[in-house]
Symmetry: C2
Subunit: 322 residues, 2 copies
DNA sequence: GGTGAGGCGGACAACGTTGTCACCCGGGAT
DNA sequence: ATCCCGGGTGACAACGTTGTCCGCCTCACC
């Protein structure tokens, strides 16, 4: 900018004025400055501007895994809102590791992001309080913050969706319905178990439930165990998209009624089509980002808690008879 | 930092030294400073540091669509390298719009990203020359830069993969093999068409080729047209993952030998399994990022052009007889 | 006890931008 | 003629950090 100023024969401040479209510059002077800018290929140093202004026009996104279809769709929706607000998006994957998450948040805050959007791992987010008090708002998506912290949160109706899926299988005549879920320390997994359990009522049988971090091997073992019971399950409810796919592979074509939580691409092309409880990751990302920008524009209401509806998509696998 | 200094009763610079682990500070002083830092919840303002240092430790990623499985996997791989180098990743989707891409690059450069990784849209990247000369290296992934610009580039073996796929179908007895590709102005689409054509040799028949931005409707129409020919195709080669899926839907279960470019999740679970030519998006992202960091660490060699191999994954659909 | 070295701490400038305020100058009102 | 006004312009400080350089204090050694 200094160079531009001397090239145009004006003061630094005049260049600044032209760059920022501020009034009070003679059109001829402005033209001279613009010409010098083009000639020198100058572009404003955003770092310095940020230092002065205090706002970075940057939002940090911490998700579990950018490569996961669910989160990448969520991330894209966040990105669209963020770009639309003239900001940029810093994204990072926590890999479901609370320590890494914390480190990423720390890094983002040191970079003075204007706000954070998080799909949290772990249950202790007290370290965020300091940042919140320092004026960096955060919005949680998909999972709520740990106890003792209350901020804007967007969830889907996990329990309701699980009830929906379970009742759907019950309505098609199943009484022995197995549930494969993720580690119950994950909020969504616990809520979905809760919905399944309440829908099952007196039919609930803990031998038909397996909750742990899924691997192909663990899913296969769990299924084998259940299928060798005296009264084996005739239907399966899987607690998230990855589990649904893993279970389908483990079943190796053995017919079994199946309803999964989370929609996934190609669910309609499998034989039979896979019945799912679909949520809306793009909507979740968009709403989370919108909530964040409301905070950034000064809204000072109590934390909002948005619950997005889910819907059952029957495609065949959930309508198989026992 | 000023506050920390006065709280600890030392000078600004001493706090800076402690924060940066520089030598020449008495352990007791350092401890006092650290205590004050904890007490005040201070964290270094990265913007100011950046302003001083000139490096932002930030990398910009411009891809077509963060939500696309191919690109999100690529993005995740880039992210891992970037984080591993102590930097952060700014990501943005161009939506295949050259103007938006250019705007994003401009924004990234104004923010003084240390480097750029791009999956380019459009064919004119001359606007990058200025940034390159200003010392912001760029690496292209999946597609090369437009004419007149030569930078580090990571591609997959598009033509070779198309040859592989076509020969595979030929080897299984097919002579009428259709090709559905994306708009030929897209580099990868053109290369794959080229591979297909050269593998077909005298069997090539332009009536069996459709190249345009795919929509469910256009794919359906193209297939209908080809299937109503006197000598309809007995096999289909689809030019990218999205096309493969769209074509599978349009076929509605009609049996047809099929080989697709790009692997996709669940390809193995369909009936029959979908034979594909698989590339390695994670490897592409990782290598692109590594090339970038080599430039950033001062490497001044001529631009490198890496071509990643592809491999044929037979799963059933490509082995169907005519 | 004087002196030099080395360890430690501090003052100051600079990074590139913008907000504040003051200046200059011409023209119209008094 | 004096004053004032306001459009156009510029000088300067400040944002928070770090590199440079300088000075002080202590300790060991002569």
């Amino acid at each position: 900018m200094k160079d531009v100023a001397s090239a145009a024969g004006v003061a630094l401040k005049t260049v600044s004025r032209v760059v920022n479209g501020e009034p009070g510059v003679h059109p001829a002077t402005a033209e001279r400055v613009r010409e010098a800018i083009d000639r020198l290929g100058y572009s404003r140093n955003e770092s310095a501007r940020v230092l002065r202004a205090g706002r970075t026009s940057t939002v940090g996104l911490v998700i579990e895994d950018l490569a996961d279809p669910f989160y990448s769709v969520l991330g894209r929706a966040v990105e669209d809102v963020v770009i639309g607000e003239g900001c940029l998006l810093l994204s990072a994957s926590s890999s479901e590791d609370p320590a890494r998450e914390r480190e990423l948040v720390r890094t983002f805050c040191a970079r003075r992001v204007d706000g954070l959007i998080m799909v949290p791992a772990g249950h202790d987010h007290s370290y965020l309080r300091q940042e919140l008090e320092a004026g960096t708002p955060a919005v949680f998506a998909d999972r709520p913050p740990g106890p003792g912290l209350d901020v804007d949160t967007v969830l889907c109706d996990n329990a309701g969706g699980a009830v929906l899926a379970t009742r759907h299988l019950l309505a098609h005549g199943h009484r022995r319905i197995a549930f494969l879920g993720d580690d119950p320390s994950i909020f969504t997994a616990a809520r979905r178990l809760h919905g399944y359990r309440s829908a099952m009522g007196h039919l609930y049988d803990e031998r038909l439930v397996a909750m742990r971090t899924p691997t192909p091997g663990s899913v296969r073992a769990d299924l084998e165990r259940m299928l060798s019971l005296d009264r084996p399950p005739t239907a399966l409810f899987t607690g998230n998209g990855r589990l649904t796919v893993t279970a389908l592979r483990a079943l190796e074509g053995r017919p079994m009624a199946l309803t999964g939580f989370d929609d996934f691409e190609l669910a309609d092309l499998l034989t039979p089509g896979v019945t799912v409880v679909a949520q809306d990751p793009a909507g979740m990302g968009r709403i989370a980002a919108e909530l964040l920008f409301r905070r950034l524009s000064g809204e000072d209401a109590p934390p909002r808690h948005v619950t997005l509806p889910v819907r059952l998509v029957p495609r065949g696998s959930g309508e198989l008879p026992p």
